[in-house]
Symmetry: D2
Subunit: 491 residues, 4 copies
């Protein structure tokens, strides 16, 4: 199959991408957890569509056999009912993954399953370690071998090495985490414990749920709702929790700190609107963004519309604040799947047109306020604005529910090179012209604090000021420079 002319993501071609979702579950009543992990991952699918994996273990069985199954694609493509006949066990972890194209291979799918001195571990990780290359080099110098290019393997090595001199798995996890820098929300399955950890800045979400006599760790609370579990609380930034039948939830807060740096894009775009992240509802957050836009950048118009799906909540907020009626301008084709054939440049059918159509009758003759969550390269915005005009819109005012972003992200988000960003070296007016709008306004950076409900957040992509010093060389991507190596000359 010629992958070049296909795209899993063509729906989000001009969006940033979250890099992963994690899910862990431990059923103290010894029920199998694999199908619940399946539905949990299904609820987290928006966080990663390239590969997925489930690993389970039977804490009480005679052999403690670990079973795992990973594959490329969506959870509904990878698993069949037969899959679950083999995935038996009452403790397990799961993962959905997005990655840049190069390393989108089955070898890099998670969870990572490995044997170490104390049995078998399963790890699933969401985030990005900024010192992973240094750690890999250090480990290699003491004889480590790497079979993947994912950060989980670096974390696993440190856990394994610390475990030799630690009294418990969680102690080893904590020692290991002290060595890594960057963002992580981590779930670890050890032979008899489920362990969760979140980096001290709390870049990525991770929460705890409960259903009957089972505990759950999940990237987002929507996954708890999906499986009918109750939300207990968020794992705090810097906290490590262990879940075991003997002690239930145990909390270790040695790494907790005052300074936090939640990824603000979780609120703006990544997380599902029905999730609650550190106490702030995502839907609410987006309504506020819309309200702020209405307050700061009002314009007289007949209808407020969102670019589906992600722009709809902010559009409703704008409508509520401004009193301008909320409406629907676009119909989105929901059947775009992983193997959809993307239209070629040369074809009359454009990618945008194939996925979105305008409701001409709703738009005709109207002055439209169109809300979108972000503009990355700007490659689709001009087409969408153009489609509204073609359909007879009299005016098109674009409002973006995030500030313009200009800087790379080192903490688990896929942002293209600076030169590709439409906001790079351009004024808002210039951008407005490029996309052909009658007016354009972004969310003011000052408003971000309202969106997060007053919580501390990372605004590195807008300001270039990061909570931790970014690496000097760009360490994003696949560390492929490491792949070659010297090999001493033959004597």
């Amino acid at each position: 199959m010629n992958e070049n002319i296909r795209s899993h993501y063509f729906e989000n071609d001009d969006k940033m991408h979250e890099e992963c979702g994690v899910f862990g579950m431990y059923d103290f009543d010894n029920n199998d957890v694999a199908t619940s992990i399946y539905y949990g991952l299904f609820a987290l699918q928006h966080r990663g569509q390239e590969s997925c994996g489930i690993a389970v273990s039977d804490t009480e069985g005679p052999k403690g056999k670990v079973s795992s199954m990973k594959g490329m694609g969506l959870v509904n493509e990878v698993y069949t009912p037969e899959s679950f006949e083999k995935l038996k066990g009452n403790i397990g972890v799961g993962h959905v993954r997005y990655s840049t194209a190069g390393a989108s291979t089955i070898e890099n799918a998670q969870p990572l399953v490995l044997n170490y001195v104390k049995g078998t571990l399963g790890l699933a990780h969401n985030g990005n370690l900024i010192n992973a290359p240094e750690l890999r080099k250090e480990l290699a110098l003491t004889g480590a071998i790497f079979q993947t290019t994912i950060d989980s393997e670096v974390i696993a090595y440190h856990i394994a090495r610390e475990r030799v001199n630690s009294a418990s798995a969680e102690e080893a996890v904590m020692k290991a985490l002290r060595k890594v820098k960057g963002s992580y929300s981590l779930v670890v399955m050890s032979p008899r414990k489920l362990i969760g950890a979140r980096d001290p800045f709390g870049f990525r979400p991770l929460c705890i749920g409960k259903r009957d006599n089972a505990y759950i760790l999940a990237s987002e609370s929507c996954a708890l709702d999906t499986i009918g579990a109750e939300f207990i609380r968020d794992v705090e930034p810097g906290e490590v929790v262990t879940i075991s039948p003997e002690y239930g939830i145990q909390s270790y807060k040695d790494m907790c700190q005052e300074k936090h740096a939640r990824c603000i894009f979780e609120y703006i775009y990544f997380a599902r609107p029905d999730s609650v992240f550190d106490g702030m509802g995502i839907y609410e957050s987006r309504l506020i963004a819309g309200r702020c836009l209405a307050k700061d950048s009002p314009v007289d118009a007949d209808m407020v519309v969102g670019v589906p799906e992600s722009g709809n909540a902010a559009a409703q907020g704008y409508s509520l604040e401004s009193g301008i009626p909320y409406g629907t301008a676009f119909v989105k084709n929901g059947y775009v799947g992983r193997t959809f054939i993307k239209p070629q440049q040369s074809q009359r059918e454009s990618s945008v047109r194939v996925k979105l159509n305008v409701l001409k009758e709703a738009v005709k003759g109207k002055r439209i306020i169109m809300i979108d969550d972000s503009i990355v390269r700007g490659t689709t915005s001009d087409r969408i604005v153009g489609m509204l005009r073609e359909a007879g819109a009299k005016e098109v005012h674009v409002r973006i529910s995030s500030p313009p972003f200009l800087y790379p992200c080192y903490f688990g988000t896929d942002i293209p090179d600076r030169e590709q960003l439409i906001a790079y070296n351009r004024s808002v007016d210039e951008i407005c012209k490029i996309i052909g709008a009658d007016s354009l306004a972004y969310l003011r950076k000052e408003r971000l604090v309202e969106i997060s409900g007053g919580r501390q957040y990372c605004h590195g992509c807008f300001t270039g000021e990061y909570p931790v010093e970014p690496p000097k060389e760009d360490i994003r991507g696949e560390h492929e420079d490491f792949k070659r190596g010297e090999d001493s000359k033959v004597k």
Copy 2:
């Protein structure tokens, strides 16, 4: 694979189903049409998700070879870029199909491709012939053989037999159509013509479009938008059109009649909101339905919400009419695919919960008006109402943008047996109690004429009064009784 615990349609478990979508294209400039048919079918995917097919022919090539490719599943699952290397030709027809489970086989996928006295035909059909069993029996008595159980084969036979004594393909088509009764929107590819036909009652939509020097026939106008084609006009009820480079569009109206019977459910639920059916915009139609509900069944409340996706337009109409704010109460998981594993009864994860989640914060403490397009069995309505209550809704008032339906459909729609219909032998109050709502109201039958913009429509499923006499025995399904047969005893 155990198909029993999978479902392609679990999203629409409690909905009626349209049975098909058709698409035809003839490019007079000899460009290949297969990829445009692909995108056209993609736009019609909501009309049938079980199988799809494309057949193309080269009108000018030395061999006039017909190529076709059919498969089970969605168009994005069946076709790969490689598919189009084999589907070469400037004239073609395509089809998407829904069917009841039993006959969902590759043999029954359309278009039907066949050789007959004058070359090769490709047929794609949307609708249901109520006299198909009689016609099959008649044909069989003169030695016909049937390799499928689809109506297209019956039509094809009549075309083939009439063609022997007809001066042209369209004459044969017209003679053939005089013998069939029921609903059909038909596209036929003959060696040098594209032919479209719509039954005299106009049950199903069919429209004509144009792009550069190519003509298109499509079930819905949204498919024209998707491929960047211009809408020309609808094929009229009873009209046969031929498309050829020599004469462009030619129209034959011998079968046109005064009495029409458009399927009202195309307006209410089947068609895409961005389509226009015989001059009436579907989105507009649904806004009107919502407005009518607000007029006829008002209730004091804090927010109007739609059950996604199909309830949203009517909810907006209700909001506009009533002044009660439109809001979002549900988040739908858009990743449900053909192979999604449906939760078992015994599992905590219900089908509804897995696909829909409530925005708790948006709903909490509010009086909600919830708009849905129909209630068939009622199996999901009670769960959705329950989810709203769980999330803290103070009141839940359900409004349905169609009348209660009670009668079978013989014209191409999948409605369950009468005993399974919640409205059968129950008052609205009883239904209200079953689904647990605070109040329930259906659209009044009198309002249907507004929805169709004054056009004549079929209301058989609400009234039991059909535009044509329905067959005495239930002829829906697979005619499987025909499958056995006598075979005379051995002498």
Copy 3:
């Protein structure tokens, strides 16, 4: 997948090809027959590797449902254990198919399953009707439609038409067969009978077996052995048999005639050595061929070897007759599968070398007599001779266990165009030089009668004298000229 550089058949690149194998079974005790058909087809796999199919019916069940499953590839690739959960029934027919590339499509896979006036028929056919194009044209002129390009459809039409005025299915079959000319071994499943028929010349084999209370029809007796059934007898040339619980085997010999024309290549190459065809064992037949070669074309040598697998039996015959020891010179790689990637011309690994290797130590310094069954294009013979020389063979004498062939076959065998045949316009000496042998001899035509054990055979491919007049135009292939057609000009 680029089919051009793959080959299912690269093992037999330079061989003639049989076109099909058929199998039918009727279990009077109502046991399911599908798995036995599977093993039967597996035993007949050498007769066709491009597609296969099984259709079964339940003669006693309440619904008499016919189930069928066809696919491209080998039987072990197409069927899984799950397949048989759907193939329920005590009567059934199966088919394996070879065809020329163009029409190797799923539409043309057999058995053909169809509804007709008296229920459902399943047909599987081995052979080639030389008047199929005329019959198709005739049928088309009375309004027939064709959904495949296989002869079975033509036969089915005639059966269906005759059935209307016949007292029984077998009467209709017999009337239908009177209209067709050419070669056929046919199995037909009607609702309550299994019918077998063989053309009056008996070109292709068909035999009857029995296992417990079940009867079997099979192309070759080896299929009976494979399923543990007892060989009853061959169906005679021109005979029609019906199998039913009421009457067991009934025989109709109206079409039987004196003159027969068994395909001599069934003895020489097509049939499996463990089959018995009209009373003559295939292995025995090949031993005789080898003996004849030894008698007619003796040469002094150290070892006789066969080109595996098909040359081995004749090599043993040569050895027995001449007293020169039989040995092994080649090791064949048995893992060549349908999807094997054939070496490109440019590669060092040749097709021959990849599938065959020489046992150097066995060959070195020896004078070798190498027996093969035929030379078609001669493209591999020179390579094999070359490999023997490379391995150190002192002399290589090639003996071919069939006469040179020069004429097309119209009766179900795939022979390339005359210009591609090495024997066309070349003397044996010239061929000997081309393939690089020290000497070359073919079987003398006079010996063919010994090979067939005195039975009448067709020698058309050697002599150009056919038992029935061949068609004037070449009717082999896909009748694609029929695919286009006129379509009258628009008025």
Copy 4:
């Protein structure tokens, strides 16, 4: 798919199994090697059919990217032409694998590809390390993590650790190999060298070939023939060779020793007859085995036959020595593939009958000597003897070209538990009765030295005397006991 009722190996159900084949290639002219590795693995397919893999690297390219592709199944099932578009590089290693069912997973497929301190390594290994569990435990105690259960990972770890303090990759390989005990033939791809190694006892074969300016390492010489390469020499027991453009082949013999222990079953059954193992031709070896049987266990008979394929060479040897004619008694169905559905016990079609059929006419009334290479459980021997009798054989004398074996193998061969071995606790007469033969004789142990051409061999499976002390506990299988582990109790 229900794997229980399928079998990849049902052809060899009652055979021992070799565990792997390896292949490495380095083209100094920078041509891609992946397709040659493909054909090389295809020639080694008999050494392992469960999974296969190819890893290549570009020694000269700007990025030195390593590409690999592994899969379950035969090489012709795993690779498509598209595969090779991604497998670009002039140095590479490949592997085919057999394993016991439990660990037949994609994670355990080879080659193992890993990053270490000096770049990327690819390892492919044939053999079995008897101290692998101890080594794993040792490594784990210093913090190692294991992602597979294959020995290659243990070797890789040792290479990585030694490499830190070694001047070259080969030095690290040699230091690493000093720590492992057992059998191995190893090929390693480092960034700029291809390294091969064979254990000091030389249990498994490994040879060196050359084609143009490329060098090859392969388990068997038949793989060299297949790709048109010249045989250079065997790697000696205990030798390590490096292949590089600067120095060609370099040899390191520090580990070479006097005592060797070639697996005698490579001669008897595992290796392909066209291979030469340490100077002894396999075909020759089997001829000798047959001659020995004829000398030691003569019997008067009419025909000597082999059980195909592996018994044929010894049968020819018996025939040559005894003067009794060699013949063919069995026809084997060559279409048994990986997904063949094995007959159930309850079915009339037995596994043996489906794959083998008797040539009745060749056997009838004859006294047969039937040669097979071994009897493991004896489950098929009785059926084969029975089939000969059914076909009319007057006498059946069975001769086995190996001694009875009774002891486990720790060096890379799959032998069932002792209790399942037919020779365990039974006399030859008892076995003869069980299999229903008229007489039975095994090869005398004294003759083994003739089979190996005087080379030292391992006869542990016949005598229980092993060249190295076997482990106390049975370490064969998947080390699954290691999979669980303690995990300290929660504090």
